[in-house]
Symmetry: C2
C-alpha cells in the first residue's frame, strides 16, 4: 500500500481544471461529489439491501457451491439484477471439485465418554466408511505440530488447540487459519490418521467452524475436522489432567467429481468509457450449515443495492460499474480465478475492484492499493464517505478475497473495511443466519459502496496498477 | 406466601431468650450468626464448587436419566460426598420411563428447500421409522391452536410460534412452556400428525431447546420437536409471504422400557436433633445434548460445596443438613417424587427445603414459604445474606422443582433466587457447557447456601408447614 504521495498531490493541484476544483487532482467536480452525496443519503433513506439478503436466505438458504441450492441462488441473482434496473446481466460458468459433507459425528470414548460437536473441514476426505477410533495428541499451534518428530503421531489424531483473538479488523484470523488449511498434511507427515483443530472463531457457542483445507502433494490425505470451542476446552481439560483421550470420528465427506456454478454479473454501463470497469461485489455461494447471511449474502445484497442506486441516479457515470456475485468462493475463489483467467490481457480495463465479504458490520475505513496519481480520487471519495463515520486511511488493509486474482494481474483495489469484531462469532457456522444482521448497518454500507463506485467510475483519473499482489483468500 | 406477620414478631420478642437477642424470635444468638457469617466469608474465599462442576461436566458430561453416563454421575456424586467429609452418604433407587432421542433431522422441502435445526422434545414418540412430510400450519400460541376447528389439521404439522420474554426471574418461561408440554396432544386433537414449536428460550443462537412433553390420555401420540429461533423465523417468513411450507421430519426417539437411577444423599448429621432435616440440593441428571453445566451441575456443585463447608465448621448445627443430588428431574421430577413417597408420614421431620436449579447466576433474593413463627428466622438469615447482595423478600417466588413433591406434603420451602436473565439462552440446549459459568458467581451462591442451611439447621424455631402446594416443575 502506497503512502499518500505529496508530490502527486502538488502536481494534481497545478494541472487541475477550475471546474474540478472541488477536489483538486481527483478528476471530480462539485457536481460529481454532489451526486455521490445524494446517492449516499438516498440509500441511507431507502434501499433494498436487507430485503435482498432476507430473500436470498429465506428462499434459497445454504448454497454450497455446485448444489441445487447454489444453482437456485444463481437464478435468484440473475432475476434480481434484472429487476433492479441493471443495463446488462449475464453469467459465466465456473467449475471446481465438488465436495459434500455427508454425515459427521465424533465422541470421546472410554471412561469419560461424551459426544463432541465438530464439523468436517471443507475439502477433507472422510473416514472411509467406518469410524476412526484412537488417541489424541494435543499441540498448542501448527508450529508445534511441525516440530514433532517424524512418525511420532503414528496411528494417532493430532489436535491443534490454538485460540483465535477477537479484533475489529479480523487480524486474529490469519495467525490461526494455517492450522485449518495445512494442519492435515502436517499431521499426516508425522504419521497421524486424522486432524482435529479448535474452531477458528471467537465465540463460546457450541458451533464448530468449517472452512476450506488443502492437502499437500505426496502426503497421505487424512480427514480433518474442527471442534467447537467448548468441545476443544473439554479435550484440553482431560489432557491437562493427564488422561489418555481417545476419540471416535465418523466423517462421510466425499469429493464427488466436478461441480458447476456461475459468476453472475450485473452492469450499469458507463456513459463515456463503457469499457473501463469499476468492480464491486460479494460471493453468492456459502458454506452448507448456516444460511450464508453474513458470509456473504450481506455482501451480495450491499453491492447489488449500491449498483441499483447508481442505475437510478440522474446520470450514468463515465465508466461502467460491474457488480459481480462471485461463484464458489468458499472452496478456493474458484469464480474469481475463472473470471481473472477469462479477462486475460483485458485486466487493464478494470480501474479498481472492491469486495464486501466480511459480514454486515458498519464500514469504518476506506483504504486502497492504487497508483500515486489516484490518491486524490481516494481522498475525494473519502470526503463523501466521512459523514458515514468512515475514515480514509493511507496504509494497511488489502483487497477482498475474490478481488485477489484480479489484483494479482495488476488491478488496483479498494477496501471499505467493515467492523468485524463479532464476525468470527458466526462465520462458517450453522449460526450464520439472517437475525445476525442489523439492517441499519447494511444501509450504511450500501451508502458507502454507492458513493465509492459512482465516484470511482466518474473520475477521469486512472487508478493505475496495484503495487502488490493480494494476500490469500478468506 | 404469607406476608410478614407483625403479630408473630411481637410474640417472638416477648418470649426471646436474652442470649438469643441478636435476632429476636429467630432462635439464633450472636454466636450462631457469627458462625454463619464465617461460613459465608470462608466459602467466598475458597470452596470446591467450580472444581466440582468442572469435574462433573468433564468426566461425565451429558447424563440423561438412566443412561450409562447418568450412572457414572451417581457414582461420582457418592464419591464426592464421601471425599468432602459428609457424615453419611447413601442412595435411593428411582425408576422411570426410559426415553432416548436417537437420530433427528428436519428440513423444509420443495422450492425453498433448506435444512432445519430442531430437537425432539423429551418423551416424544418418533416418526415411526420413516419421515413425515407434509404442510405446516402456524399458530401464534397454544390457545390459538386449541381454538382451531376439530379436524382442521388433518394430515398436517401444527407449528406454535410463540416467543419467550427475557426476565431476571425466568417468568417468561411459564406462559410459553405449555406449548411444549401440551401442544402435541392439542394438535393431535385437531388431526395433526406432528407438532413443531419455536424453542422455549431467549437466544438467537441456532440451538433448539428440548424439554419434557406429555401426552393426554385417549389422544393419538404424535411426534413433537422444537425449532431453533432462526429456524422458526425462517418458517414464519415463508408463511408470511403466503407460501405453502412443507416440512420433512425424521425423528427416531423411543421410549425403551424402564430406566433406573438413584437419588444420592450426603448428610451432615445434627448434633442435637439429628432427625430434623434441612434439605438443600440440585439435580444430577441432565438433558442429553449439553453437558448440564448450568442445568444442573451448578446446583449440585453449589449445594454439595455448601454442605461440605458446614461439615468443616467449628460445630455441627443442631439439626441435620441433607444435601440431595436428585435423580431424573428432567423427565418429570422422578427422583423427587420417589423421595417424597418414601418419606411418607416422615415428611414433618423436614424443616425446610431448597433447591438450586436455575443456572449459575448470582442470588439476589431470599424468599420462603413457611409458618409465620418462622419469619424471624428467615429475617435473621437475611441479615447474614445481605452483604452478598441478597434481599429478603416477604412475597413471591416458589420452591425449586424437586422440592415441589415435599412441599405438596406440607414441607416449608426457601428460595435463594438466582439471576436468570441469561439462563434461557443456554437451558436445555447443546450450548449448556462449563464455559457459561462464572466461578465468582458460583462462590457467592455457595456462601448463601452455606449460611442459609447452617442457620436453618441451628435455630430451635420450627418452620411449620408450607401454606401452599408448589407450582409445577421446571
Amino acid at each position: 500500500m502506497i503512502p499518500r504521495p505529496l508530490l502527486a498531490l502538488a502536481i494534481g493541484a497545478l494541472l487541475v481544471d477550475p471546474a474540478r476544483s472541488a477536489a483538486p487532482g481527483s478528476g471530480l467536480d462539485a457536481d460529481d461529489l454532489a451526486i455521490a452525496a445524494a446517492l449516499r443519503d438516498g440509500t441511507l433513506a431507502s434501499n433494498p439491501s436487507y430485503a435482498l439478503v432476507e430473500d436470498l436466505t429465506t428462499t434459497v438458504g445454504p448454497r454450497l457451491a455446485g448444489t441445487p441450492a447454489d444453482h437456485r441462488a444463481v437464478r435468484w441473482a440473475e432475476a434480481r439484477f434484472k429487476a433492479l434496473g441493471y443495463d446488462r446481466v449475464w453469467t459465466q460458468e465456473v467449475t471446481f471439485p465438488y465436495w459434500r459433507r455427508g454425515h459427521e459425528s465424533g465422541a470421546i470414548v472410554g471412561a469419560h465418554a461424551q459426544p463432541l460437536m465438530l464439523t468436517t473441514l471443507g475439502g477433507s476426505v472422510g473416514t472411509g466408511g467406518r469410524p476412526i477410533e484412537t488417541e489424541v495428541v494435543m499441540f498448542p499451534d501448527l508450529d508445534a505440530l511441525k516440530a514433532a518428530p517424524d512418525g511420532s503421531l503414528a496411528g494417532k489424531i493430532a489436535f491443534i488447540d490454538r485460540r483465535m483473538e477477537r479484533l475489529r479488523d479480523g487480524a486474529g484470523y490469519g495467525p490461526v487459519v494455517g492450522a485449518r488449511s495445512d494442519g492435515a498434511s502436517e499431521a499426516a507427515r508425522k504419521g497421524a490418521v486424522a486432524l482435529l483443530i479448535r474452531s477458528v472463531g471467537t465465540s463460546r457457542n457450541r458451533f464448530a467452524h468449517t472452512g476450506q483445507m488443502r492437502y499437500a502433494e505426496g502426503v497421505p490425505k487424512i480427514p480433518a475436522a474442527a471442534l467447537s470451542t467448548p468441545d476443544a476446552d473439554q479435550i484440553a481439560r482431560l489432557l491437562a489432567r493427564g488422561e489418555t483421550v481417545r476419540v471416535r470420528l465418523d466423517l462421510a465427506a466425499v469429493e464427488a467429481g466436478i461441480g458447476h456454478s456461475w459468476n453472475v454479473f450485473g452492469e450499469v454501463t458507463g456513459r463515456e468509457k463503457p469499457d473501463e470497469v469499476v468492480v464491486i461485489g460479494g460471493h453468492l455461494d456459502s458454506w452448507d450449515q448456516g444460511t450464508g447471511a453474513l458470509d456473504d449474502g450481506a455482501g451480495v445484497a450491499i453491492t447489488m443495492a449500491a449498483g441499483a442506486a447508481i442505475a437510478k441516479a440522474p446520470r450514468r457515470p463515465a465508466r461502467t460499474v460491474r457488480v459481480i456475485a462471485w461463484a464458489s468462493e468458499e472452496n478456493g475463489l474458484m469464480g474469481a480465478r475463472q473470471y481473472a483467467a477469462s479477462v486475460g490481457a483485458g485486466w487493464a480495463a478494470h480501474q479498481v475492484a472492491a469486495e464486501s465479504d466480511f459480514g454486515a458490520g458498519r464500514i469504518y475505513a476506506l483504504r486502497a492499493g492504487a497508483s500515486p496519481e489516484a490518491w486524490p480520487v481516494v481522498e475525494a471519495i473519502g470526503t463523501v464517505l466521512a459523514p458515514l463515520g468512515i475514515a480514509t486511511e493511507s496504509s494497511g488493509g488489502g483487497p477482498g478475497p475474490d478481488v485477489g486474482p484480479l489484483v494479482a494481474l495488476g488491478v488496483p483495489w479498494a477496501q471499505l473495511a467493515q467492523d468485524g469484531t463479532d464476525y468470527f462469532d458466526y462465520h462458517h457456522t450453522p449460526n450464520d443466519t439472517l437475525d445476525k444482521i442489523d439492517p441499519a448497518a447494511l444501509d450504511q454500507q450500501v451508502a458507502a459502496y454507492a458513493a465509492f463506485a459512482w465516484l470511482a467510475a466518474e473520475t477521469d483519473i486512472d487508478f493505475g496498477q496495484a503495487p502488490v499482489p493480494p494476500a490469500g483468500g478468506r
